[in-house]
């Protein structure tokens, strides 16, 4: 049995359904992110694992023990909050040792553990400071040390970096990941930032409207999104409505252009409409290759973004976004120019819904 099991969990606040039919199994030592737009139920789900909310129905099981109705102070979970939530009246060391003092550990053991935790989070020099004397990033390190001091069974982080500036977010997130791997602790990380989720997780749970859209490795959810929501939420994407021309040959029509896909369409009917999606980086200027789909259009705009160049192309009624890698000898197309672009058959994703 998995280390953490969230089984058929639902949560309603009055008439608002915050979480519906949430099922997830988490292995020991696994780092899972909940990713989704604001209000999709990520925090609520996390809080049900922490014990701050009780599910309307369903079960939460950690290490074989059903903890659905256990109060948070008996759950053995560590929690890191977006607002840091350090105790303003205690020093850094006081904060980190709080849980250990509550657990009535011997004084010298507390001191050793606190030193350890401050070492781990690179905060050793700051033990005597008060939270208000620390920067946001340092405060969050202390909060992390505090959450880990009791060696909890699972670490829960609710958008821990969203109050920090972009550069710090990037460095701190890899540090969080490194610490989690060093301790081998299971972790759930809530974020609305797809880059953050993709970069640090073993698996990503993409949520929308209180329900899971897709669970998979960062590679899977990016490259093989199963729903149009996932496809659109993660990365930039071209989505079109396409008419099936021949289910056997796997051909579709977008506007007046024909595309071939590798997706199994045999269950569909000729003339049925499906959603298809193409990542901008899978589109290139055409070269002769029979495996490729060819599309024609005219350049609408060219935007230089540094490492990539983003080209918008008008294809009939649709707008196509194409990313090409920058190189100094690139000949940038001109606005209004007529072009032919290509994308491989397997780059055209057919979305389930």
């Amino acid at each position: 049995m998995a280390f953490l099991v969230i089984n058929k969990v639902n949560k309603a606040f009055g008439k608002t359904i915050a979480v519906q039919d949430f099922n997830l199994e988490l292995q020991k030592g696994e780092f899972v992110s909940f990713l989704g737009p604001s209000g999709c139920g990520k925090t609520t789900t996390l809080r049900m694992v922490a014990g701050f909310e009780t599910p309307t129905s369903g079960r939460v099981v950690i290490n074989g023990e059903d903890i659905t109705n256990k109060p948070p102070n008996q759950r053995d979970v560590g929690m890191v909050f977006q607002s840091y939530a350090l105790f303003p009246n205690m020093t850094v060391a006081g904060n980190v040792g709080y849980g250990l003092r509550i657990a009535k550990k011997p004084v010298n053991e507390i001191k050793k553990r606190v030193d350890n935790m401050l070492d781990l989070t690179h905060m050793s020099e700051f033990g005597d400071r008060y939270p208000y004397q620390l920067s946001g990033g340092q405060q969050q390190r202390v909060a992390l040390a505090r959450a880990l001091a009791l060696s909890p069974q699972i670490l829960l982080l609710d958008e821990p970096l969203s109050a920090l500036d972009a550069k710090l977010r990037v460095s701190l997130r890899s540090e969080i990941r490194a610490i989690q791997q060093e301790l081998g602790i299971s972790a759930i990380y809530v974020t609305h930032d797809q880059e953050e989720a993709l970069s640090i997780s073993d698996r990503v749970v993409v949520m929308n409207n209180g329900a899971i859209e897709q669970v998979g490795s960062p590679f899977e959810v990016y490259n093989f999104p199963q729903t149009s929501f996932v496809a659109n939420f993660i990365g930039t994407l071209n989505t079109f409505s396409a008419e099936i021309i021949d289910p056997e040959q796997c051909t579709l029509k977008v506007g007046d252009q024909t595309l071939a896909v590798v997706h199994d369409l045999s269950a569909k009917q000729r003339g049925e409409y499906v959603s298809i999606a193409i990542r901008p980086e899978r589109i290139n200027f055409a070269s002769a290759d029979q495996n490729n789909n060819l599309l024609e259009g005219s350049i609408k705009s060219v935007t230089f973004l540094g490492s990539i160049v983003r080209v918008l192309i008008t294809c009939g009624d649709n707008m196509l976004c194409m990313d090409i890698f920058n190189n100094p000898y690139l000949e940038l197309p001109k606005t209004g120019q007529h072009v032919q672009v290509a994308c491989p058959r397997e780059a055209v994703l057919v979305l389930d819904k």
Partner: protein, 288 residues
């Protein structure tokens, strides 16, 4: 530390701002200042002239030499302390619970805490006397639940503290609630809970230390109310400082002036203490 520097900057800014103020503002400001300072000066001056043609502290000596002064003041001090303790024990958990679990009840509770402003103390004291001067019995078997409280010293003290609590309610509730607004009690509570703490421990180790400046200001306000209160004490017939001061004012002239001025000084000292303790608000913990 950063706070001192910040404060200096603020002071300099206000100073620069003051100089820019137009003449009329200055005139109004000085008039207002005189309005407050002149009576105070008058009181001080008067209190120093008990002996003819001599400026001296005789009135102060006389006032403080009176045994009744110390007795009544001590008694009021005791009642104030009890009121503060009971109020804090009652209001802190209540305000905490409302912030955490019953935010919808905030308006109702705020309304209730404002009632003492609307209902005069005289109504309160008559209610107390009516209700508690006869034994409270169960209507059926005639079992006595509570003997008449007004008959015993202890009972009267209980009534006094209860009454003072009602009078101080608006102040203490507001202070505590404001204190809880400045620290994020909800998240702090959750953080402490996930670290294994129970409610009792959380209130003691997290909530109280972080609202201590508000608690202190609430407590000082209660103290001021209790020490000066007259109506409740006279009608319940006990000898506290309020009625003593009133009586003194009717019989003597210099001593009450001396005591009034002392009270002013004490109030200022108290406000200074609050300012000192809550000076670094926002980083409360830095105070020690």
């Amino acid at each position: 530390m950063a706070s001192t520097k910040d404060r200096k900057v603020v002071e300099m800014n206000t100073f620069a701002g003051l100089r820019k103020l137009p003449l009329w503002s200055w005139i109004w400001f000085i008039l207002g200042l005189l309005y407050f300072v002149l009576p105070l000066y008058g009181t001080l001056d008067f209190s120093l002239r008990m002996q003819r043609d001599v400026i001296g502290l005789k009135a102060y000596h006389m006032a403080f030499a009176d045994k009744a002064f110390w007795q009544t003041f001590g008694y009021s001090f005791f009642l104030a302390t009890m009121t503060i303790i009971v109020s804090i024990c009652l209001i802190v958990p209540t305000a905490y619970w409302i912030r955490l679990r019953l935010p919808e009840a905030r308006r109702i509770v705020e309304f209730i805490t404002l009632l003492p402003f609307v209902i005069p103390a005289i109504v309160l004291v008559f209610g107390l006397i009516r209700l508690f001067s006869s034994p409270i019995t169960l209507p059926v078997a005639g079992i006595v639940l509570l003997p008449p409280l007004t008959n015993t010293v202890f009972g009267t003290n209980v009534l006094m503290v209860a009454g003072y609590m009602v009078l101080g309610l608006p102040y203490i509730y507001r202070s505590v609630d404001l204190g809880m607004r400045t620290v994020d009690v909800r998240t702090l509570t959750e953080a402490a809970e996930s670290l294994g703490a129970n409610w009792y421990t959380i209130i003691l180790t997290v909530i109280l230390p972080n609202i201590r400046a508000s608690l202190l200001s609430g407590a000082l306000l209660i103290f001021a109310i209790v020490v000066g209160e007259v109506v409740l004490a006279s009608f319940l017939g006990i000898k506290t400082f309020g009625p003593y001061l009133l009586l003194l004012g009717q019989q003597r002239s210099y001593e009450p002036a001396a005591l009034s001025f002392t009270t002013f000084l004490m109030t200022w000292a108290a406000m200074g203490i609050i300012q000192k303790i809550s000076g670094g608000q926002g980083h409360v913990a830095g105070a020690h």
